[in-house]
Assembly symmetry: C2
Homo-oligomer: 414 residues x 2
């Protein structure tokens, strides 16, 4: 028995691998943090929703569909992140939710003219903030972060003053996997009178998300990564209960309207998290999110976190031994408690290495700019044996120079 | 052979009924303009997308998914509405698209402070405009429209002056089915220097939509009604090509970014319709829209329009004969060329009548405030025999007073 086999044998989550559609023989999928794999239950649930509920129930099915955005939101609050019922709603895309919540926060601090973020935040987060800043004539104060590390709370705190309306950061950095200190940053932001907006896309479903205990104000996240809800699955938003009455988001739509089907001509939003809804919710995506969230909750975020740390630690140990001599450098935090469930390796030929891995070695990693190979280790679907085998194939491929024939080229979707 | 049977026998679109999942025996579905029925091809396409493309292809499938928003948009332009390739994008919800385009239009007329709409526009349209007006301190000038008729172009024209930035109307009124004169309203708006924004949710797929020939500037629409894309299917947006470079929408996201996967930190939108995208598009919804659009295009919008007029004319004739004596009054335009593919009847007990129809007569209509029974006659799925049978059941039920036991109550989803 290899060390990997022993680790798999002792893994309490190993059985969850059978809850997902199998991949093609020999494929090692290390991109579950871009697009999570397909749960078997989801394929069945979607087929039933299409055939029975849409095809058979037709318009009558809205009686149960209408509550899905808050039901799935409550399920995320109960089983994925630390939040209370009525604090999370599934709606729109991460980008649109970032826009809604950032705009609401800025409206709540009308005398403050500064947004703080960091230069390694996910691009769409930066773009949304840039759009709002441009429209309102605000300043974006961008804290510099080493791209191997997350934002340092002390550096963030230094950027704060009485002019800051909003601090917007990713909880887990998309490139390095570094975990930001949500409690420390939120405390500093609140000390300065600012609100916080967290992007949980790379953390929810892979690490604990201390929204309640940190006092975080606002958050958004996607469901197609570690929540396994499928390509373009709907996003969610979190608004701390105490803020729900005072914040108003800018996209007023009929799904946020009180007495929606009275079809009144004047917008009067519902009370609570529902006021952050806008248009008609995507029912198929909501069911997929519901199934994905159910799996995370069943596995338990603490066991998921423990396995995520074990997988990434195992990978880093193998990388130190077999990949460092081939020019790879760890570009994620070395302490296990400072990183999420992916590990990023820097290599000058990272793009070529990624192409060769995909096309010759049947390992699916993710290329990240400028020169990173990102390896996502989804705790529900990745085995220790896969980690070992992936490192073996990667080392063999690079040692043989099999990547050298590939051209340098731009990336693809994550 | 009854007259209905003769009409069905002569219907060139009759065969399309077999392209949809069958309903339960005896059910007459007159709500396809709220939620269109399930095309058989869509159930197959979704199952394949889930199992093969998501489950099997995983992240690699983004290579083909990434072009779906513009591909399906181009298919709408080619087969559903009058538009050119590169003028339509499938994205977000109707509400979010209304917000994006209305905001872009208002930004393009910064010195003008007035939005013109009509009081019978769909509620979410009114709410979006109210939200933008509140945020910017603008005036909404609401033209009064009889709720049995669409907006009168002359009345709209009277409301226009040099202070108007935007005229935003529905092409087909959701309640009455009245068709607005897109060409006349657009000409009047342009004469005043304003832009036009049309909601096509109740027109695209049931009547011709003269975007190009009318010179319309902007439009949005949903896909879950006459385009049969399923509950919460993604919406689309139209921006006349000449305006695409000068208009900028407010929600800056990574799917609108030039060189998206270079992950650059500064937003630089792509040129063209893609700049009106925001976040990650919903892939399952896009496939469902693609299949629905394909059916419309195959049937041909002219044949769809001819059948829609024939169905509604047939219904109105029967209503005059059998329902008027029972207290029903036509609340849609009487000339066939002035209404879309639904007919609305006013009755003082409309809510009770709708409940009784659904629960006792297996006819699914739509209640519309304040006292309307709306009957949607989807040209691809409704037969003349169903229209006749539905009127028979409705007349029998009301004549017997079977609706009188139902309480008055608020409505449900459309």
């Amino acid at each position: 028995m290899t060390d990997a086999d022993a680790l798999d044998a002792a893994d309490p989550l190993a059985g969850f691998r059978d809850r997902f559609a199998p991949t093609e023989p020999g494929l090692i999928y290390l991109d579950g943090n871009s697009l999570g794999r397909l749960p078997l239950a989801t394929a069945e649930r979607l087929a039933r929703a299409v055939t029975e509920e849409w095809g058979g129930g037709l318009i009558r099915s809205w009686e149960s569909w209408i509550d899905l955005p808050s039901q799935v939101g409550d399920a995320i609050a109960a089983g994925v992140v630390e939040a209370d019922p009525g604090e999370i709603l599934v709606a729109d895309s991460t980008t649109v939710n970032l826009y809604k919540l950032a705009a609401a926060a800025l409206d709540a601090r009308p005398d403050r003219r500064v947004i703080v973020t960091d230069d390694d935040n996910f691009p769409t987060d930066l773009y949304v903030l840039q759009g709002l800043a441009a429209a309102r004539g605000l300043e974006i104060r961008t804290v510099r972060t080493g791209i191997d590390d997350g934002p340092d709370p002390a550096t963030i705190a230094e950027a704060l003053d009485g002019g800051v309306a909003l601090v917007s950061l990713s909880h887990v950095a998309y490139r390095s996997g570094a975990i930001a200190d949500m409690a420390a940053v939120t405390a500093a932001a609140h000390h300065a009178g600012a609100l916080t907006l967290w992007d949980l896309s790379h953390s929810a479903g892979s690490v604990p998300v201390p929204l309640r205990s940190s006092g975080a104000d606002l958050a958004v996240g996607c469901t197609y990564k570690d929540l396994n809800a499928g390509p373009g699955g709907p996003a969610y938003l979190y608004v701390r209960r105490e803020l729900q009455e005072s914040l108003r988001q800018p996209i007023w739509g009929w799904f946020g309207q009180s007495g929606q089907f009275a079809m009144e001509g004047t917008y009067t939003p519902v009370r609570g998290i529902g006021s952050f809804a806008a248009g008609t919710p995507p029912i198929l995506g909501l069911y997929a999110a519901q199934e994905g969230v159910r799996l995370i909750a069943e596995a338990g975020i603490d066991r998921i976190r423990a396995k995520g740390m074990a997988l990434t630690s195992y990978l880093i140990g193998l990388a130190d031994e077999h990949l460092a001599p081939l020019g790879f450098r760890l570009a994620s935090p070395r302490p296990a408690d400072r990183r999420g469930a992916h590990v990023t390796l820097q290599h000058p030929a990272a793009w070529q290495v990624c192409r060769a891995l995909i096309e010759r070695a049947k390992v699916l990693p993710d290329f990240r700019t400028p020169d990173r190979v990102r390896l996502g280790l989804a705790p529900l679907t990745t085995s220790f044996a896969e980690v070992r085998e992936a490192v073996d194939r990667l080392a063999t491929l690079v040692a043989a120079g099999d990547h050298l024939g590939y051209p340098s080229a731009p990336g693809r979707v994550t």
